[in-house]
């Protein structure tokens, strides 16, 4: 942390931002720059790595080290950065197609290894840069250029996937909820391990209003903002809550039940039963969970690699090149 007060301009590069006017990516960029300022990170210690897609232009707009790489491979490249130098602050900017379709394998493995990096997943449920094709998170039935009669494919939920792969920090926000988004980005970075920030954000051009259900004020019925240790209450009047009826979650009117019966959020429980339940709620009957869904501690791969290297070196001593070249079995020809 620096004593100097840093504002978000410190993290903006000179490059002109070229997303469509009104694109949800602007909000994410702004909140990321604010989060870096909140965290007081030195510009040179931060690396933004991205894949391909609208959201992957992100690094160009950050006054940090940045690498705009290949479609789907940002997490694999970020893994190399982070394992080579575990002192760096590594961020991945990616989208639904980039992270979950072509890059799905790297997403799963980065989560499983608990690679210490923040993954900013900007999910607009559409391929934007190729001008409007169905994406891995698109709803079944959606009409796009490649699904003119409606998509016959099932959507993939990155929160469920991350939980299944053992991610230690899983969170979600809309792009419009700037306060929550900034808070999550800060928390994600402070967390030691793989940190997913799943952002529901609008594509003005090819998939406008897809998340209105979760962003419009009059639709507050459909979002549940989780707070650790707090009861799960939601609704525009904060009059609804979630209870368990046996193993089955139910939405109730808060007034109708004993307040002690309302489920209390616990993101830090070692098991992932509650986060898994929250990520599996059918959204026609339940609100979409937002905030920190899971946050548990775990060993990080990059740090473990460094630690193992240090342990082996302290046990065997620093390697001597000449000895390495000789090996253990030599013979001499006179």
């Amino acid at each position: 942390m620096s004593d100097m007060k840093i504002d978000k301009k410190n993290y903006a590069s000179a490059q002109e931002v070229k997303w469509c006017s009104g694109c949800g990516d602007y909000s994410v960029l702004k909140q990321a720059q604010l989060a870096l300022a909140d965290l007081g990170l030195r510009n040179e210690e931060v690396v933004f790595v991205s894949g391909i897609g609208c959201s992957s232009r992100f690094p160009y707009y950050m006054n940090t080290y940045g690498y705009h790489t290949m479609h789907g491979r940002a997490m694999a490249i970020a893994t190399g950065v982070r394992t080579q130098n575990p002192e760096l602050s590594v961020w991945v900017a990616t989208g639904d197609g980039d992270a979950l379709s072509i890059g799905g394998n790297h997403f799963v493995h980065a989560a499983k290894r608990n690679m210490n990096m923040v993954v900013i997943l900007m999910d607009n449920r559409i391929y934007g840069l190729t001008k409007g094709q169905v994406s891995p998170t698109s709803d079944k039935g959606v009409i796009t250029k490649t699904t003119p009669y409606g998509s016959i494919d099932n959507p993939l939920d990155p929160v469920k996937l991350a939980l299944g792969a053992g991610a230690t920090f899983v969170s979600r926000s809309t792009g419009k909820n700037q306060k929550l988004l900034r808070e999550l980005l800060v928390k994600a970075h402070q967390h030691k391990g793989f940190s997913l920030v799943h952002i529901l954000q609008n594509c003005l051009i090819f998939n406008d209003n897809v998340f209105d259900r979760y962003t419009d004020k009059e639709n507050a019925e459909h979002s549940l903002i989780l707070e650790d240790g707090k009861p799960m209450i939601f609704g525009s009047e904060m009059d609804k809550g979630i209870v368990l009826d046996g193993m089955t979650p139910k939405v109730v009117n808060v007034a109708d039940v004993d307040p002690a019966d309302i489920l209390v959020h616990d993101a830090t429980n070692e098991d992932s039963i509650l986060p898994s339940m929250l990520s599996s709620l059918p959204l026609d009957k339940f609100p979409m969970p937002m905030g920190v869904i899971r946050q548990v501690e775990g060993e990080c791969y990059g740090e473990s690699m460094r630690d193992q290297q240090e342990q082996v070196t302290s046990k065997l001593g620093s390697g001597d090149l000449q000895q390495l070249l000789r090996g253990n079995n030599t013979w001499t020809v006179a």
Binding site: S13, Q15, R42, N43, E44, E45, V46, V47, V49, S50, I52, P59, Y60, M62, T64, Y65, G66, Y67, H68, T69, M70, R73, A76, I77, A78, T79, G80, V81, R82, T83, Q84, N85, E87, L88, N105, H106, V108, H109, M305, Q308, Q309, V312, T313, K315, L316, G317, S318, G319, L321, Q322, L324, L325, R326, G327, N329, T330, W331, T332, V333, A334
Partner: protein
């Protein structure tokens, strides 16, 4: 025994058995033992792609061939003098490689009706006269092994597994070799299992005694009058040599080595070797797939490592998009391709040189990359250092081509002194924030500045989009793209000023025939050319290590020969390149059988030209 008597040049022995019989170990141990005596050796493992195919079947036969002699041993040998066949299937698969008059040692215990049937024999070849031209030593190896261990506490299965060391004992006796080296090896290999070590040493010594008592004749040779050059040697396979070369290069340059890799035959040994070297500052990352293997290496390079990825066959295809990223990002990276038979899964455990055109051109866009190749297992060490040197000096990905034959084969390697290795200190240029731009270039090499995350004042963004020539920002300007394409090409072309000229082995002023080759065909071609020249023929050998760019004198050397022959284990890939670049009406000499050239195959083409 008809094994070559004194005055022999070399002896070729092939060990063959079930995949689980330990023939690779027996062969390796025998090779190491004869190398101790100052022999030249070349070895070639020959195993199936199945790990343990059903016991007793021809699909499961694993072989290990060693050629040793006093001088000019350059290949694993075309034909075999002694075949060790641990079962009928091993005999069936290998009997064709025996010269008439060669010897066979078989384990008679394995020649039962069941195994004969599995191997597809209708009658027992030990009894039906089909081997009458050969000297057959039918020995009850399994039962003698069990007999030798009758007092051992080991299980019958474990006792039976010692038969490969009994076999080794027979071979050591046959070639009058001392068992000391093998005994030391067993003691260190089974240091934690002393009962197994004792059992193996017992059967090794029993094997020697049994051969002596049974009157197996010793070949009348004890080497040797002409030997390897004086010095300290170790046995080294090409894969191990690549690993050592990369570790050495990182040490010499002053960077830490980072390998991003995914298991694939026959390249995986490089990952395994480097994974051990954590106390040498080496980091190895076994990735989730081939793409993540190279991508993690590119990420590590971006963050300041000497980064490497290694693979074979299909893995190289998977990496090609990322190679493009490394080229446009102008980051140092070494890509080791241990070539194998293709396309697709092809012949995964067999050798081939069929990825040359892919290495040269197999990427989208104008995507030039330096390519170097190794000629012998030991040369893999030096070419790995060369690939790393070019990568860091010129800020570029470099492909190092070896192949299955080099990777798995081994030879005595003269241990170099560290201070005699290339001086690579200062290869990595210091960069300063003053006037920094990510694409600021060194005037001579055209290498761009390598600022890595953590360095203050040099934050920058690079990536797969075309960059502005001056400030490195994203640029779609058409003229700028052409300028950048040309500078990337120019950078690779300038390497020609920094590599050795082609050398002519033979007639310096040229002559009738020049055989041009590259990679692992070196030994086979050089050996045959030496024989032709001893007969007074006008034939020379020119061997490439640098495939892109090619040495500056290539055109001049080609022009010296009336007939230019291009020898390679593919359908004529270097031939196509030389034709296209140098307008030469060259003659291809090719083979694509997953096996190195034999002398007679070279002669079939060359005899007609001389």
């Amino acid at each position: 025994m008809q094994v070559k008597e004194s005055g022999f040049e070399n002896v070729v022995i092939r060990f063959a058995g079930d995949s689980g019989d330990g023939m690779q170990l027996t062969g390796t141990q025998f090779a190491a033992a004869v190398a101790q005596e100052g022999n030249e050796i070349v070895t070639m493992p020959d195993f199936p792609s199945e790990i343990r195919a059903p016991a007793g079947t021809t699909a499961g036969v694993s072989g290990f061939q060693v050629n040793f002699g006093k001088s000019n041993v350059r290949t694993p040998g075309d034909f075999v003098d002694v075949l060790v066949a641990m079962n009928p299937a091993a005999l069936k698969v290998n009997v064709a490689v025996l010269d008439k008059g060669g010897a066979i040692i078989v384990d008679t215990d394995a020649f039962n009706a069941k195994n004969l049937e599995k191997a597809g024999y209708e009658s027992n070849p030990l009894e039906d006269g089909s081997l009458e031209d050969l000297e057959v030593y039918a020995l009850p190896i399994t039962s003698q092994t069990l007999e030798a261990l009758k007092d051992s506490a080991l299980s019958k299965k474990d006792r039976g597994r010692c038969k490969n060391f009994f076999t080794l004992g027979i071979l050591l006796w046959l070639h009058d070799q001392e068992p000391d080296y093998s005994i030391d090896y067993i003691k260190s290999k089974f240091a934690r299992k002393p009962d197994i070590a004792d059992a193996n040493i017992t059967v090794l010594e029993e094997g020697i005694a049994y051969a002596r008592n049974k009157g197996v004749p010793q070949a009348q040779f004890k080497l040797s009058d002409k030997r390897l050059a004086p010095g300290e040697y170790r046995n080294l396979s090409g894969n191990k040599a690549v690993a050592l070369g990369l570790a050495a290069a990182a040490d010499l340059i002053g960077l830490n080595l980072y390998l991003g890799s995914y298991p694939i035959t026959p390249a995986t040994e490089i990952l395994q070797e480097l994974a051990v070297l954590k106390n040498y500052g080496v980091k190895t990352f076994q990735a989730e797939d081939e793409i993540a293997g190279i991508c993690s290496a590119i990420g590590a390079s971006f963050a300041g490592a000497l980064a490497v990825t290694n693979t074979s066959g299909p893995g190289m295809s998977l990496k090609s998009e990322a190679l493009g990223l490394a080229v446009i990002s102008e980051l140092p990276l070494v890509v080791v391709n241990v070539q194998r038979g293709g396309p697709s899964t092809g012949l995964p455990t067999k050798t081939e040189q069929s990825d040359l055109l892919q290495a040269m051109y197999g990427r989208h866009g104008e995507c030039p990359m330096p390519v170097v190749s190794a000629s012998t297992p030991g040369d893999c060490f030096y070419q790995a250092i060369e690939a790393a040197r070019l990568a860091v000096k010129y800020m570029t990905p470099v492909i190092l081509l070896t192949d299955g034959y080099l990777g798995n084969g081994s030879e005595p390697f003269l241990v170099p002194k560290v201070d005699e290795l290339p001086d690579l200190s200062g290869l990595k240029r210091e960069v300063e924030p003053e006037g920094f731009s990510p694409y600021r270039r060194d005037e001579k090499t055209l290498a761009r500045d390598w600022a890595v995350p953590g360095m203050p004042g040099m934050q920058h963004r690079i990536g797969g989009l075309e960059k502005d020539y001056v400030d490195g920002s994203v640029s779609h300007d058409p003229v700028n793209h052409e300028k950048m394409s040309l500078i990337r090409q120019e950078k690779v072309d300038r390497i020609a000023d920094d590599i050795p000229d082609l050398e002519i082995f033979g007639d310096q002023d040229g002559g009738e025939v020049g055989i041009f080759s590259w990679g692992s065909t070196f030994g086979a071609i050089r050996g045959k050319v030496e024989k032709y020249r001893a007969e007074g023929k006008s034939i020379s050998h020119i061997h490439f290590t640098h495939m892109n760019p090619m040495p500056k004198n290539t055109a001049e050397v080609i022009a010296k020969f009336k007939k230019v022959v291009v020898a390679e284990m593919n359908l004529g890939q270097l031939d196509q390149i030389l034709r296209a670049k140098y307008l030469v009406d060259s003659i291809p000499l090719t083979k694509i059988q997953g096996k190195p050239f034999r002398e007679d195959e070279i002669a079939n083409v060359i005899d007609k030209l001389l």
